[in-house]
């Protein structure tokens, strides 16, 4: 069942619906995987000197992110070989004659021994520096029509990969953690809403799983071990998130992560996932209301990207026959009720001149336990068009009201994230909910960490609870929260699940509220900068989990992982555990 849905998703990948891939990145001659190529000289996953001494004490680290520096010094062994067994740059120019990667829908694959060849040239100075290496590899090319995030010194991918998988070359532990990484297309990271990402993330997970299995086979080959005896586990870090969705594990990405986490393959170890909680606790993006309730939706002026809000209804045993309605009022206009009649419909909101100022989609989906939920997604065009002739919406306070005759129960209203990560186009503007009952800060100007108590009938619609990333609603993934060193508790921005907890496991990311950020790697060896956010916490948890699995301890589910973290927690008792930081200081 899920395989069919995946197949459909892959078809969509090849159709490239978001126009995400440059034309020359697409692979038009998809071939089956070529296992002979693995044994060819210079095309293998790892040089034997980079392989784990004992595969039973190893765990693969998988990272899916924006362009990553696979040739970084912290990913090499003392012998100068790459620990990165395979790197897939999804939007690099595809070469049909390339010896590897013909089974991938797009881009370029670099195997560890291919990276070794580049590193050797770097060492011999026929490649002058790491920048030249990435250009030679094809992952940096300023002539191509995309954002050149692979060239950014302070790239997101560089910091995440470093936190998850760095080891000093002379640190023997490094070889116990081979790396499989996928660089998502720049356009996916550029999409301020993050809604194009799931297809490419799914394909990335597929890549990591297939390559992980082949890496195990290669180690067996080289070491003369019995077939299927090497079953390394894999921890996959996905430091991406969105802020709107059903948050109940029903999306394809969530279901796939859950399914992969529970499967037992005969030729690979357990696979675990780590996702960030998200940074939107204070952003006023999430609300919960009942039928008849109304909340404001403030859309910013001069916003060149569209804005979206999703309303998800309560669970029903059967698919509702009559779709619920919302009343939407644009600034200065009367509210108008939607008129959906079936799943899969779209409706356009036009003003008196006939111009489109918003649209809405209605869906009813079957989720956990076979229960049905209805969802309406409202998308408003930019408030300043990117080009003349495109529609634009009026900025200001819109109003969303749940129809009073909608089925009773809780309605979750969440605004989709609409902001850019460092280095990308800055023309996205985050819209948010407006609620006069919501208190933004304490009277002494401190951030409010949890929703304030309120009397019945006075409860704000906008919440801090339930701000967890909408990729992280499944059952299996470990959700990473950011912790604050001074408070020994969650950072004020770190998302909360519905129950008010800041994730499953946390790591220290921010020394204090006033000084946010932890030291992270830049793209080039030696460069460092500061990075904050739960995206920086997830890879630290990935690293810890990989070390745990390498030691032979396999948490069977999320609760087991949390228990392991609890045992070493540096946080307060009874709270979400905080892992101890790895010391950066040399020990004498």
């Amino acid at each position: 069942m899920i395989a069919m849905a995946m197949l459909e998703a892959f078809r969509q990948f090849l159709r490239d619906p978001g126009g995400v891939l440059p034309r020359d990145a697409i692979n038009h001659e998809l071939k089956p995987y070529d296992s002979d190529a693995e044994r060819a000289v210079g095309l293998g996953y790892l040089d034997p000197q980079a392989m784990p001494d004992d595969p039973d004490k190893a765990c693969i680290i998988g990272v899916i992110d924006d362009a990553m520096p696979f040739a970084h010094e912290s990913l090499r062994t003392e012998s100068g070989h790459s620990r990165v067994a395979a790197y897939w740059a999804q939007d690099a120019v595809h070469d049909p004659a390339a010896p590897v990667g013909g089974d991938l829908p797009s881009g370029v694959e670099l195997r560890g021994q291919m990276i070794d060849a580049l590193l050797e040239r770097l060492g011999a100075a026929t490649l002058p520096d790491e920048d030249a290496l990435y250009r030679r590899a094809g992952t940096v090319d300023f002539a191509r029509p995309q954002r050149h995030s692979a060239a950014y010194e302070a790239g997101h991918g560089a910091s995440v990969l470093g936190l998850a998988a760095r080891f000093d070359p002379w640190d023997a532990r490094g070889r116990n953690h081979p790396v499989l990484a996928v660089g998502l297309p720049a356009r996916v990271s550029e999409d301020s809403m993050g809604v194009l990402a799931p297809l490419y993330i799914l394909a990335s997970i597929m890549f990591i799983i297939t390559r992980a299995r082949r890496l195990c086979r290669m180690i067996e080959d080289v070491r003369g071990l019995p077939a299927h005896s090497v079953k390394m586990p894999v921890v996959i870090n996905i430091s991406y998130g969105i802020s709107a969705g059903p948050r109940d594990g029903s999306t394809l990405l969530e279901r796939f992560i859950d399914a992969v986490s529970t499967m037992q393959a005969s030729d690979l170890g357990p696979i675990r996932f780590v996702l960030p909680m998200g940074n939107h606790r204070q952003a006023r993006l999430v609300g919960v209301g009942r039928r008849g309730d109304q909340v404001g939706w403030r859309i910013q002026p001069d916003d060149l990207t569209h804005s979206a809000v999703e309303i998800w209804g309560p669970r029903h045993r059967n698919r509702p026959e009559r779709p619920f309605a919302i009343h939407l009022a644009a600034p200065g206009m009367e509210p108008v009720a939607t008129v959906f009649s079936a799943h899969g419909q779209m409706s356009l909101l036009r003003d008196a001149t006939g111009a489109e100022i918003a649209r809405a989609y209605y869906q009813s989906i079957r989720g956990e336990g076979g229960r049905w939920r209805e969802g309406i997604t409202v998308i408003a065009p930019p408030t300043c068009p990117g080009e003349l002739g495109q529609p634009y919406a009026p900025p200001g306070d819109w109003a969303i009201r749940i129809d009073p005759s909608a089925p009773s129960g809780a309605y979750e209203i969440s605004v989709q994230r609409d902001e850019t990560i460092h280095g990308f186009h800055r023309e996205a503007r985050q819209s948010r909910l407006e609620d006069p009952r919501y208190t933004v800060r304490e009277p002494n100007d401190r951030a409010i960490l949890l929703d304030l108590p309120s009397s019945p009938g006075q409860r704000p619609i906008v919440r801090r609870r339930g701000t967890i990333s909408a990729y992280a609603g499944g059952r299996a993934a470990i959700r990473a929260g950011s912790a604050n060193g001074l408070a020994r508790g969650a950072s004020f921005y770190s998302g909360l699940n519905r129950g008010g907890s800041s994730g499953d496991v946390q790591t220290f990311v921010d020394p204090s509220d006033a000084r946010l950020g932890t030291s992270v790697q830049g793209r080039d060896s030696g460069a460092r900068r500061y990075g904050t956010g739960t995206s920086m916490s997830a890879p630290q948890i990935t690293r810890w989990l990989a070390a745990t699995l390498a030691n032979g301890t396999v948490p069977n589910d999320r609760a087991a992982a949390v228990a392991l973290a609890d045992a070493v927690s540096r946080g307060l008792a009874g709270a979400v555990p905080i892992l101890p930081s790895e010391s950066n200081r040399p020990e004498f």
Partner: protein
């Protein structure tokens, strides 16, 4: 060179240039160079002897007025040009109610050519009508909404308090050393725009957003003159129009072009800063475009059409109207706010024309 003081955008830059010119002069014995004067006096005493000073034969001039004009130094050239251009402009203000202390609309008039140089008839160049107090009040909410962009626009807003030519020079290559006359045109454009918009602002006397709400809290100090139209918008659109018409005198306004998008952005930045409403940007745009067109017309002896902008119609049903390049397109296409009238001739300005001709030549040589 500019004669106006340094408080307007760009005039600060010009004031700096003027100061440099003065310093150069001082090195040659201008005011403040006492030592040189003393030396000149002493040396003269020593070498002229005792005979009375007698004049030698003279010669008639060999240069016409335009050529003599071009030899003037910066400040004086600027004074002559501004005079030549401004002597053809006049103002008219209309009050809705004779008892009102502010006008409802203000018109800039331009002088028509006439065989009798002592007879002056005028035609309208631009008529700007103001919004009502209630409409301004409603627009304050938009100004508040734009405040969210302040952090993002900080460097632009601060730079643009004193310098906007640089933003256009980034688009059209007009480096000072090889575009002296183009730069002169832009500088004069700014001055004329300032003189026009200040008269209109004074006549209409419109309140600033800070007067309606103490929560606007602009991020730059709010100027003491009236709000509508926006001086920055008028200047920015004058510059965009001058550069566009220098390249092609028959060009219309393309809101999507980089020059006009930059003008829109400079205008909008003032709303972000908290000192203007979107209507100020819109009226400034029409005024600036008209000033640019008029200046080209006087250089090339072309006709210019009149334009009106009705700020009291600048709204959307039940609310204030926003301003950006798509709204500009709607205005130019002819909506309730903006209309263009019949073309009228102008009096040619010979000295200004000579500068424009040289600027055109500089522009034509930009590939060399």
């Amino acid at each position: 060179m500019s004669m106006l003081n340094a408080q307007n955008a760009q005039n600060a830059q010009n004031a700096q240039n003027a100061q440099n010119a003065q310093n150069a002069q001082a090195a040659f014995g201008g005011p403040g160079s006492g030592q040189l004067s003393a030396a000149l006096m002493r040396a003269r005493d020593a070498i002229i002897g005792s005979a009375q000073v007698q004049g030698g034969p003279g010669s008639p001039p060999t240069l016409d007025m335009a050529a003599r004009f071009r030899r003037l130094d910066g400040d004086h050239q600027g004074a002559v040009i501004a005079g030549e251009l401004f002597e053809d402009l006049s103002f008219e203000a209309t009050q809705g109610n004779p008892a009102d202390l502010t006008a409802t609309s203000a018109t800039i008039l331009h002088r028509l050519p006439n065989a009798d140089p002592r007879k002056a008839d005028y035609a309208p160049l631009a008529t700007i009508t103001r919004p009502t107090v209630d409409q301004f009040r409603a627009a304050v909410t938009l100004v508040g909404g734009y405040a969210d962009l302040r952090e993002d626009r900080l460097s632009e807003i601060l730079s643009q308090t004193t310098e906007i030519i640089a933003f256009f020079a980034a688009i059209s290559p007009v480096e000072p050393s090889r575009s002296k006359n183009i730069r002169e045109i832009l500088s004069v454009g700014l001055d004329i725009a300032t003189m026009c918009v200040m008269r209109v602002k004074l006549a209409l006397g419109c309140p600033r957003p800070t007067q309606f709400s103490d929560r606007v809290q602009p991020m730059i100090s709010c100027p003491s003159h009236a709000a509508y139209p926006s001086g920055h918008s008028t200047q920015a659109f004058t510059l965009a129009t001058l550069l566009t018409l220098l390249d092609d005198p028959a060009a219309g306004v393309d809101p999507e072009s980089q020059l006009y998008r930059m003008a829109c952005r400079i205008a909008i930045n003032r709303t972000v800063a908290g000192v203007h409403y979107p209507a100020d940007s819109a009226s400034g745009a029409i005024l600036g475009i008209q000033i640019g067109r008029y200046l080209m017309a006087r250089a090339l002896n072309k006709e210019v059409t009149s334009a009106t902008f009705d700020g009291s119609a600048f709204e959307v049903p039940h609310g204030p109207r926003d301003f950006h390049f798509a709204e500009l397109q709607a205005m130019l296409a002819g909506d309730a706010t903006t209309s263009f009238g019949a073309a009228q001739p102008v009096r040619v300005a010979p000295l200004w024309s000579s500068i424009w001709a040289r600027a055109s030549e500089e522009w034509g040589n930009r590939w060399s």
